[in-house]
């Protein structure tokens, strides 16, 4: 497959997953806010902090009003990670490599694009309860995954898109978990209180993990949830699971089924996956959840860079012009 095409497919996977996860972020925060006691104000700052775009936000806005934060995360064309930006870029990548996509896949991406435009026109961020809209976006993306799953041949292209999707999901699960870290409890003594408990529950629900968690772990406590979302071997949104799947994609791409690694990207992801495979939740908590997640995010970025240099960089006919996306 053309290196340039592989590059666009990979980023199509990442941007779609990013858009879906941002829709989830907004949902989780809505759920959290509804459970706050009366004397606590709505907190939207933690959500911005978790996306890693707090600095950008501060240069453009004052305060953390709900509508404003929603606009920033979902519709702001100047926020490179907003849902609108992610969907626009996903469509652009899809448009460039349309000849490699099935007609249905392309048409769903195209529909998604018009959906977010419509949300912009209708000023969804001003609605009292905009969750139906984010639900729609999320479902459209899930529909796309479903169509792809049952219609796309498992050739290189499939694995590049999956690779992008799982790396992005690993990163975003770590960020959803991080939202909890940024949410301010009235005091540290509130840790373990019903309020704390409600927060965790809302968080699990936002990744459709609540029931699964209940069945597998029973009690809701922070260590259990961290273990579930970071280390669980079977849950498809846990960071370990995502890395395992991403590694599998890399092996399919290189044809390496004999173990070990054949390129730097395989090496880096294999190492990180093994580390999580044998990690225990107590280690994570003693390092500090936020710090741990931070370092995971950096490693995932590093893996993405290695994939880029290994598969997407092409010899230049003219001047340097590999297309880097973020």
């Amino acid at each position: 497959m053309l290196s340039r095409v592989a590059n666009h497919i990979y980023w199509l996977g990442r941007y779609l997953e990013r858009a879906e996860n941002y829709a989830r972020f907004i949902d989780v925060n809505f759920n959290l806010m509804q459970d706050l006691p009366l004397d606590l104000k709505e907190q939207w700052q933690p959500l911005v902090a978790a996306t890693g775009d707090l600095e950008l936000y501060k240069t453009r806005y004052e305060g953390f009003g709900r509508g404003q934060v929603l606009y920033f995360l979902a519709f702001d064309p100047d926020n490179p990670n907003s849902i609108l930006s992610a969907i626009t870029k996903a469509r652009e990548n899809a448009r460039i490599i349309r000849e490699n996509l099935s007609k249905e896949t392309w048409e769903k991406v195209n529909e998604l694009y018009y959906m977010i435009q419509e949300g912009m026109d209708k000023k969804i961020w001003k609605k009292e309860d905009p969750r139906f809209f984010f639900e729609k976006i999320k479902n459209q993306i899930l529909l796309l995954y479903g169509i792809a799953d049952s219609s796309v041949a498992r050739t290189e292209g499939w694995y590049f898109r999956q690779l992008g999707q799982f790396l992005e999901r690993a990163d975003k699960t770590s960020r959803i978990l991080d939202v909890k870290y940024h949410i301010l409890l009235p005091s540290t003594s509130e840790v373990g209180t019903p309020l704390d408990f409600l927060h965790w529950m809302a968080l699990l629900k936002s990744v459709t993990a609540f029931n699964t968690y209940r069945r597998l772990y029973g009690n809701i406590d922070s260590a259990g949830i961290v273990e579930f979302l970071v280390l669980n071997k079977l849950f498809p949104r846990s960071i370990y699971y995502c890395l395992k799947e991403a590694e599998n994609c890399l092996h399919h791409i290189s044809g390496n089924f004999g173990g070990g690694y054949q390129n730097p990207a395989e090496k880096a992801i294999g190492e990180l996956k093994s580390r999580l495979e044998f990690a225990e939740v107590n280690e994570i908590i003693s390092i500090g959840l936020h710090e741990y997640l931070d370092s995971l995010q950096l490693r995932i970025n590093h893996i993405s860079n290695l994939i880029d240099s290994n598969f997407f960089t092409i010899k230049d006919n003219f001047v340097t012009q590999t297309q880097h996306q973020e």
């Binding site: 497959m1 053309l2 290196s3 340039r4 095409v5 592989a6 652009e92 448009r95 460039i96 490599i97 349309r98 000849e99 490699n100 996509l101 007609k103 392309w106 048409e107 195209n110 529909e111 018009y114 290189e156 791409i253 598969f311 092409i314 010899k315 230049d316 006919n317 003219f318 012009q321």
Partner: protein, 475 residues
Amino acid sequence: MKTDGYSAGEHFDEMFTPDGQIRSHYEGFFQNLKKTSTKKMNQLQYSANQTQRAMGMTFNVYHDNQGMEKILHLDIIPRIIPNTEWRKLEAGLKQRVHALNLFLQDIYNDQKILKDGIIPADLILGSKDFLKPCIGLTPPKGIWCHITGTDLVKDKSGEYYILEDNLRCPSGVSYMLESREIIKRVYPQLFSQEGVMPVSDYPTKLLRMLQNLSNKAKPVVGVLTPGIYNSAYYEHSYLALQMGVELVNGVDLIVENKKVYMQTTKGLEQIDVLYRRIDDSFLDPLTFNPDSMLGVPGIFEAYKAGNIALANAPGTGVADDKAVYAYVPRIIKYYLGEEPILNNVPTYLCREENDRNYVLENIHELVVKETNAAGGYGMLIGPKASRQEHEKFRDLIKNNPTNYIAQPTLSLSTVPTLVGDGIQGRHVDLRPYILYGKEIEVIPGALTRVALKEGSLVVNSSQGGGSKDTWVLYN
């Protein structure tokens, strides 16, 4: 829906005779139209528009700040061509493409037609589209113009006239194909009832033609596009998808040892045939325009060495120059010894003194065109232009006579088009597609472009034109 009071005025209407009778090949469609309410027609039109949007059938417009991607309006009333009329068109187009291909082979090799004084040598040799690097070359199988998209119009008498031979990278074929798919959904029953010839095997035919250019058993074929900002990008990706071949940009290709390779995730892979949708001058910065960032350095050397086939062959542009156009009837006679089947529009060459004087005196009645412009740009429609514009073009012609030709204003035929609550006649042209593979084949369909503005004769998509599905009937 009522059609009473419809009038095409002085123009030839494809559906109605001047006294308001239905032409027989439109009878079946007309009966259906009569039964369908205006409201229903508008609903069908709306859903056709929505389908186009969902499919992302867009083209890009240059110099337009209202967003980059636009949708070419597809009017749901088709243009229908009866079989007998089509047979004549088909024969005429084959003849013309055959002769033009012989002409190209000749002027880049023996130049007999110039030596015999049929065409002034300086008109060809001095043309900026005459590519000197192609001198002495014979492309694979001797084919130069693999894909042609000839523009025709019908005048008041109902006769077809050739307007332009587009021998470079004619676009629009994806609209012919996709419009048909949409219109089939609009009139599910009519198609089998009316006996409309299918066009959907075009990508198969195109692929077979391209594969035929290589001697390998399983040649690697690709479509070369200037990229996503090109106005016809949708079409490039559509054709690559339909043929199941790679869509490549210049940056994907690299030339080593006079062979062309694609840069893939697994290293280099040789490519044998390119349907290139990049103009000649941008194809290879080492041979042509050194500023081109779109092409592939060294590809022309690979082409000369016979390691890559290019469709269309570089150098075809010289034969669809608007000044050379005037000589096409003579070109047909010279190479084939036949009378041209299809009419040429009488053309005045401003490079010749007598013609020029005629043009300068009668500019208000003529259409003046730049010999090298396309897309309806650089053009004056005398009867519709102001005195100032006439004066401006007189000056332009005097300063650079070789750059201009003039033709009498042609009346373009009309087809009823959905407008508001009824139908009105709108002017159309016709672009059929001709493939030159083992044989020359005319695809039984076409892109019909329609000028949506009342009275307008400009059908170009970049200037407010739309399109219609074109039905060629079995009978």
